[in-house]
Symmetry: D2
């Protein structure tokens, strides 16, 4: 018999879409990966006690709570997992860090740069005490994306000239789709820009190792008023009937921007919820002097790679099925060719986080990484307002 | 508070690849689906006590055992989940059914038609006592496959003329790949034919609602001797070093056959482990008088559908992203466009099974369905030996 | 000024679909390729004088004729291009060869093995006098196919284990599609088998360098009676109204067969006109010990190539755009990336033929190659009748 | 016998890549389409008499000339086809129009807005005398593009919100690729912007029926000096050895811009010669309230169409093989499924032009259409210089 592993007790705040995904990750990670700490799903927290209790039962948490401050204060919680809408990230994450809890915070880090800056300051203070903070850009942990990063780092793409990134959805392309908290600037901070644009900013910077330095952007709200759903809607994506009233959409439906990256590469970014027929299409293409990479989340187990050092006769984009034991994260799962799904990125996030915590290392992406993305988002908004290029603060 | 649900206590025999997949399904199904019975992962069983204990800990089973007969006899086990190689299916499944346990048995149902017939007889006797049996053709529960079945049942394809099915792998295309139990006829029953050919037989019959009535087949073993791995190899896919010896491959590397189906449709089937570059490509195409369907497991969240009633101008194969709440099984998971992976079919299998058990209904595919597949496999073998068409027994 | 090139005067018999394609080839080849002989489009011949004259004008032939025997006899014709239905190939080609004319004959070489054998004998006699014969399997000259052949010949695929080939059309999937000469065994010889199955037999043998040695096949006529079109139908694909009568379909709608190839490779072949939604899909996949190739004529400027010698991390099927100057035939056309179409294979056929004639070499595929394909077709028919494996005569 | 058709005698200026493509179109169009005028390839003109004579012989023109003014003045020329680099378009086209000749002018219409404006004025004066002018945006005549236009015009896409367009090449991604006239601003006017960006501007405006009203753009020259080829380079794409010297690249390697279109749609455009691995990828996607369209010239016989009025269960992007007789231009060519190539767009251009001339109608795209594209190009350049949004002049 071996000694039992040390545990990592988790308190999760928020139990909607992201809370569900994080729960699956905490539940599943130790079953496939050999983790140095044993996660314990201690307590889930939501504003409504009854719904929190139901979530605890359904999602498999030991307890529930309707008071996040109490959760943050518990001695038997080691890590606080923040899965709420963006308007509460700063308050909860800072309180948790100050209480000595590690924090995993969903993206975008915050709704404003100012909040994100305070979070980074709190994370730096916490780090000095060995308390870690991480922001949840989970798509980094899709094996095909991790492989893309690896190929760039190995120099297989050469000097990068072009980055093009699209995050295309269509769930509100119908003008009759109801208002939800995601369309309310006070809760969501921004629309497609912060919700999905943040992902492609992080993903492209992660893959290329470059940073966006200036942008020229444009935000657009195609449908300016929408039906208000009957009853409470916070935390849900529509659902239920309509109240018959129209309410204002206060966030962007679509965000597009040109970018300059360190090294002189040119970027073209597009995030929209109005790309009819595209459900969750994250498309990234990187062109370099030695090769190119292309990824589409609608075919998430595939990375396309063009090696320009091949003879012209046999050169071509390779459709790499990133389902082999040689690929990042894959060996822990199934035999060759048995693809993974959306949720596995969250599991890999837990794996990387737990390893970092056990090693006393700072997990990535850090709050500083999240702040930098926030600054790009802010620059895009400013640029859209001023109708001119805007430098990204640093 | 509501009363707790009745439970369904599971004893699982075998903890290799399939045991791992089944464990994930029992673990995850109740977290996403509202099940009428609450699965309890009671006991996992393997031939080696130490490895079984390790599996229990890793996979999250309450207990472990090295005696499947004891597991079958336990009063606190309601269902026996058979995840062993095919040579032990009959013995374990029949014993479990006779002990009044429901049985979920991995495919192929057995290594011989005779064994499968005895299993069906046992299942029929058990059914009379309300004890159910099911065989694990999990690919039926991939949402795109379930949608394909639904479209055929709705008549969207019309009268079916062509079925073409390929299951392509390449994991032993390298002549130096080691012998494993899967290449030993005494354990595995057959090679590509029973291991993966069985899947496309079941899948095409499920989707079309037709049965294969006669076949002309050919089995081939391209590499007749392979390195014997050092040490114990049962239940593993290679792994470890080689003993330096060569041992005979006693199963087929590839199996191809033509088929006639009820209704007069023509089928072409191919199962191989020598399709270099194809990792787990299950490709099915069905052509009918009113439309066509195409599926490829390498892009498992997609079903292609051609509707011949469309005007020629806009007719084309549609790439349906089977990731919408309107699609089978999908609403329980993530928002639109967030694809599932290989393992989700196993979860759906648990969901369907538990619903059937709670309703006192016979789950499908039944042991009789498994026997019918076995008879097709046997007809292919006979046809390959006799070099002529062979009717499928009924 | 340079001396004018010697000319090659062509007389073409038949001016329907194939005559149109051949005319384009004779017209265009000297404009893009530097040919050693200058083709002259001397005379086009058809059974109806008026329609032949119209064809001459439309297609750009100097003269027209309604008497192929007269064309064959002309001193100012060097080559006879046979574009008629298969029932007249033998008579015309043999007469032309005996008159000392080179012959290009459309595929399939003939409607029967016996006819094809007589044509080969005539070709051998003619060759002794420096008169050449070629059969028109033009798909060999699609650049992606020529590249496939080249990669196999270079050993990039290794030892070939699997060949799978499909030729899928749907133009008579509708049971109301009218009878045409292509559905009349007396004119067409066979249905999908000879018309399109012949192409995939030739293509796979060409690409792999192997020969089919035995087959197990099945022919099927799904729709046994069809509307007889009003008026003259020979040489047309339907067209015009219906006479109101039904007539018998005397050829196969679909042909499938398993095959053994020299070297022990296994083949699976399928030719059908009932694959709803597939318009002219020629799909070929070859799996070898060192790599694989895949081609689909619906994406004809692409060859997929899997190189198994690549590290697993970056291995994948490459989508080679066969549109680069380094690729076969391509340099004569457009800049990189500007794809070719169906008709270019015919142009390349003229190019290769003219070069062979100028060099006094035997062009390929020869009549003997065409006969061998005919023997495979015959073996498939016999196999379908006897319901057993059938050796291909040699 | 019918009376012979009236003829249309063509004088073509320039015989490089574009002259070759136009020659093929004049040669082939009357063989497949029933034209109201019979094109006569009267005279080809180039600066070098010897090379022009060689071109006449190779391309099939009756005569050659080294004096375009003489060609323009000939009584036996009805139409002047301008295939020279952009710096001479204005002079030749205006002279031809003033001489009463119809003009077909390659794109971009001119190298500057001022030149284009003079050309439009000349075209208007000529039109008053029944003399027509057309600019050669041939990609409009790819059948899949014409079908896209048709579906938008029929309202199948609804209100358009997003346009994304990329024209990706890589022929100078290698920093050692030589200087050519296309990299010389004095000859080419601009780089990727005018050469290939012009195409996607025209294509997206054609398909959507919208106009670009303002832009925010960025031009970039990644490689600022390149080897000067030895000897004469005008009119060639590199070729030959290098002189050993470096010369300045005076045009853009890549051009990206955001756009606003009439109706409020948002556009994202990217034209580059540095997209390693992309050879001639013209990708256009349009998202509307009722559906979406996607096109990629690397798969030019396909249009993808998403119909949002379909039930969610079976909605998906359809891969329409635009190879059916019901599709624009296709019926004149081959049977269903036999794809066309790059050059066919030029043939269709001739067809449409000849029909317009015979009917006395103004062919489209007109010189005014070309000027509007030129104004968008100019706005992009200005925007790149001023680093702010720029309205497109009208």
């Amino acid at each position: 018999m071996t000694d039992p592993k040390p545990t990592l007790a988790v308190g999760m705040v928020g139990h909607a879409f992201m809370g569900n995904a994080h729960s699956q990750a905490w539940r599943v990670a130790p079953r496939f990966f050999d983790l140095p700490l044993d996660p314990v799903m201690r307590v889930v927290c939501g504003r409504d006690a009854g719904r929190a209790a139901e979530a605890a039962s359904r999602l498999g948490w030991e307890e529930s709570s309707d008071d996040w401050r109490a959760v943050v204060a518990r001695d038997d919680v080691d890590l606080v997992d923040v899965c709420t809408p963006g308007d509460s990230h700063a308050e909860i994450a800072i309180a948790a860090l100050e209480a000595g809890k590690h924090v995993l915070c969903e993206k975008p880090l915050a709704n404003t740069v100012e909040e994100a800056e305070r979070m980074v300051a709190a994370a730096e203070r916490a780090a000095a005490r060995g308390v870690q903070a991480m922001v949840g850009f989970t798509y980094r942990r899709v094996p095909a994306v991790a492989l893309a990063r690896q190929l760039v780092a190995e120099g297989r793409i050469g000097e990068i000239r072009h980055v093009r990134a699209q995050y295309l959805q269509d769930w509100i392309a119908d003008a009759e789709a109801p208002l939800s908290w995601r369309l309310d600037k006070s809760k969501a901070g921004s629309g497609s820009l912060g919700d999905i644009g943040a992902h492609i900013i992080d993903l492209t910077q992660f893959i290329t190792g470059l940073r966006i330095t200036e942008v020229s952007g444009q935000l657009e709200t195609f449908v300016k008023e929408r039906p208000v759903p009957a009853g409470e809607t916070a935390g849900t994506l529509g659902g239920g009937g309509s109240s018959g009233e129209l309410g204002p959409v206060t966030v962007d439906d679509a965000a597009v921007f040109l970018a300059r990256l360190t090294s002189g590469a040119i970027g073209v970014y597009e995030a929209t919820r109005f790309a009819t027929g595209r459900k969750n299409a994250i498309r990234i293409e990187v062109n370099g002097s030695a090769g190119s990479l292309a990824f589409d989340f609608e075919d998430m187990n595939v990375l396309e790679f063009y090696d320009a050092t091949e003879p012209a006769e046999t050169a071509g984009f390779r459709r790499i099925l990133v389902t082999e034991p040689e690929h990042p994260y894959v060996a822990a799962w199934w035999p060759a060719g048995h693809g993974l799904g959306y949720e596995h990125g969250f599991t890999h996030q837990v794996v990387d986080l737990v390893h970092a915590l056990a090693a006393g290392e700072a997990p990535r992406p850090s709050f500083a990484d999240g702040l930098q993305v926030q600054r790009v988002l802010a620059a895009v908004e400013t640029s859209s307002d001023t109708r001119s290029w805007q430098e990204v603060a640093s």
